[in-house]
Amino acid sequence: MTALILGAIVAVAAVVLVSLPFFADSDVIDAPDERAERRLELMDARDRALAALKELEFDHRTGKIDDVDYRRLVGPLRRAAAEALQGIDQQAKE
């Protein structure tokens, strides 16, 4: 009998928990739209470029990369970061 009561409590508690969200206001899933997707891509590109610049500086300071390679690599990375930042700004203005 105890087992039956405990089993019923477990089942009722589960049903209550599963039903609760149906009393919520909004029924729309808050997911990124196409514009937000593009923004996320730009932010990924920005973060990657900035992280790469940080790594490059650190590698240069710790001697893993020499001056010649550093100068060759730093330009494209700065450009990539700037392009991503510009893209984010431009999208914000639109």
Partner: protein, 652 residues
């Protein structure tokens, strides 16, 4: 109480099925309320599984033999802690533990990420729900731990080798590892289904993958120590199919943890990472199939069981699902950048990945070959230690070398000149160490010599990295605190080096002899004197049967003093088992290891005596591995803030 357990499992099954079906419909139709309801069902599934687990645990502790499972795996004389250990000592109980861990991970993941990664979570819920549906179905319909019977006077007992403190922690650790790999799999699948294949799923799952990987790795070390002190064959890893089943997903997950860094930094290897996540998960489920189906004969596997077919079907279905998803989303997953140089950090990650996967697939072939020849040719063939040892050297030694080179190469591009300049100290240290080892007589084993030389190389690179980084930032603490992921990784590398030294020392340089001794006779081995004093017969009777322990008492001299016991135990119910005698020399980190192999009619005894140099470094490596993993896992507030800010910005 069995009825309550059964009812709780039926509720778990219903909730998991609801989470899978309603969750899929909600994600497709973008229905928020239904998606939240499915999410709550997954959380409730964990709750009802906890109830089922408590019922079984109580039955085990109270020796309730009306439960068939309790009668089959415990006895009245079993202590409470080992009675609880029997929870995962049998097929049905361990399946329940699997469902408990799976639903627990599922509940935690969806609750922690419900707001931050809403678009992915709506798909994670039905995927985790589907996995939970499979396991709860098996527990309800095929292998229930709640079958009842007329209670016998006593149970069959737990195998003596499982009555060991390591068995309290080793299986749950492995389960936390195996099952934890479901989380990155669910997120990867969710990213592909939803089409949101940006880097968020990787950032969100990195710690879950690390957690699973840490448990799987540490669980294996615990298992190796258990085998070493309990199984009594003189080793710690026998390339047993079930042991390999834990190693394979760990290797694939290790490859993933490295290659994911390349994706985060350069947006490359996106398809490869999806393949690795799927491979890790599939290998974990395949390992479960191997353990449970009875297709392989192993000390670690459960008896022949009808659930093998179900698991095989599950492995095939989830593999097809993964392949179909990757093929469908190939255009989205293509890399936007290319490898700039073969001499760069990302290139070394690629080489390391190829070696990890090659080693993993070689082991998989070693496991599959006997099964396939048995099924298709009807022949019984085995693949032994020489096969695995050969490939471990072929792939493992280059991996060890790469572990030293990788951290010293710059991302994107490095010149040979800069690389040689950075590597000059590690190379010098390795050459000196190699020369010193040859002079000390360690050249008898070429793989051992190469492994030790590479280990010195790697350790020096770690020291060089720490010194240079400290010089650049001004403080070691600040250096580690700013990049816990990198320096925690170096601690793990140091643990792998210690592990390699322990493995090389205890296998390439061990002494292993067999001696037949009569009482009063002695033998000398590597500076130890072992004298056989006497044999003690210790009979005991319990309700679970009779048992006779033949205990040989040995006196030690030379490098060690005192006495050492080793036993052969014959149980009327559970058969013969060994208790080995181990004397640890902490200064040399080596063990004197004695096994009572056989008793002869003339009163003499055959002893197998081993001296295993540096073996204790393996266990030490396990704890350092755990420490390094925890440093890497430590929450990074900046990373979390970045993720939150990025999502907020994306929403405008």
């Amino acid at each position: 109480m069995a009825d309550l357990g059964r009812a709780a499992l039926v509720v778990s099954f219903g909730l998991a099925l609801y989470a899978a079906c309603a969750g899929t419909y909600a994600a497709l139709q973008k229905r928020n309320r239904l998606a939240d309801s499915a999410r709550n069902a997954l959380v409730a599934c964990f709750g009802s599984t906890i109830v089922a687990a408590i019922v079984l645990a109580l039955a085990l502790v109270h020796h309730d033999f009306s439960f068939v499972y309790v009668a089959n795996h415990t006895s009245r004389d079993l202590s409470t802690i080992y009675a609880l250990t029997a929870f995962w000592g049998g097929q049905e109980g361990s399946l329940l533990l699997w469902l408990l861990v799976l639903s627990g991970y599922g509940a935690l993941v969806v609750l922690l990420n419900r707001k931050l990664l809403r678009d992915l979570i709506v798909w994670v819920v039905p995927i985790m729900g589907t996995l939970a549906t499979f396991f709860s179905f098996i527990l309800v319909a095929v292998a229930s731990p709640f079958k009842t019977q007329v209670p016998p006077l006593d149970g069959a007992g737990l195998t003596p080798s499982l009555q060991n403190p390591y068995m309290v922690a080793h299986p749950p650790m492995l389960y936390l590892g195996y099952v934890g790999l479901s989380v990155p799999f669910a997120f990867a699948a969710a990213a592909m289904i939803s089409g949101h294949t940006d880097e968020r799923w990787i950032v969100a799952t990195r710690r879950w993958t690390l957690t699973a990987w840490m448990f799987l790795g540490f669980g294996q070390i615990l298992g190796a120590h258990w085998a070493y002190i309990e199984v009594g064959w003189g080793g710690y890893y026998g390339w047993d199919p079930v042991e390999n089943a834990a190693l394979m997903p760990w290797l694939a997950a290790t490859a993933f943890l490295h290659s994911v860094m390349v994706q985060e930094r350069k947006g490359m290897l996106r398809v490869w990472n999806m393949i690795l996540v799927a491979l890790s998960f599939e290998l974990a489920v395949f390992g479960d199939f191997l353990t449970r189906s009875g297709v392989v004969n192993s000390i670690h596997s459960f008896a022949q069981s009808p659930i093998g077919g179900w698991f095989l079907g599950f492995v095939v279905a989830t593999s097809l699902f993964s392949v179909a998803l990757i093929l469908w989303r190939l255009p989205l997953l293509r890399a936007r950048t290319k490898l700039e140089s073969a001499l760069s950090r990302e290139a070394t990650f690629l080489y390391n990945n190829l070696l990890f996967v090659a080693l993993c697939l070689t082991i998989l072939w070693g496991v599959l070959f006997p099964i396939l020849t048995s099924v298709f040719l009807g022949e019984s063939r085995t693949i032994g230690r020489p096969y695995y040892d050969f490939f471990l050297r072929i792939f493992g030694l280059p991996l060890l070398l790469l572990m030293g080179i990788g951290p010293l190469i710059a991302w994107r591009r490095s010149s040979a000149r800069a690389l040689l300049k950075t590597l000059r100290w590690p190379i010098l240290a390795a050459l000196i160490a190699g020369g010193g080892l040859i002079a000390a007589g360690a050249g008898s084993s070429h793989p051992g010599l190469i492994a030790y030389t590479f280990c010195v190389f790697v350790l020096t690179t770690i020291v060089v990295e720490l010194v240079r980084g400290t010089r650049a930032t001004g403080s070691l603490l600040q250096l580690v605190a700013r990049n816990r992921r990198r320096y925690g990784g170096y601690v793990v590398h140091a643990a792998v080096v210690l592990f390699a030294i322990g493995v090389a020392g205890s296998s390439a340089y061990q002494t292993n002899v067999e001696r037949t001794l009569k009482p009063g006779q002695s033998t000398r081995i590597d500076g130890y004197t072992v004298s056989y004093k006497q044999m003690q017969k210790i009979p005991s009777v319990s309700e679970s049967g009779r048992q006779v322990e033949d205990r040989a008492v040995l006196a030690l001299g030379g490098r060690a003093h005192g006495t050492l016991d080793t036993s052969l135990i014959n149980s009327s119910l559970l058969g013969p088992s060994h208790e080995v005698g181990i004397r640890t020399d902490y200064l040399r980190a080596q063990d004197l290891y004695v096994i009572l192999s056989q008793q002869n009619a003339d009163g003499s005894v055959i002893f197998q005596i081993l001296v295993k140099p540096l073996v204790n470094l393996i266990w030490l490596a396990g704890f350092i591995f755990l420490g390094g993993s925890l440093i890497t896992l430590w929450p990074d507030a900046r990373e979390q803030r970045r993720l939150v800010a990025r999502l907020a910005l994306a929403r405008g």
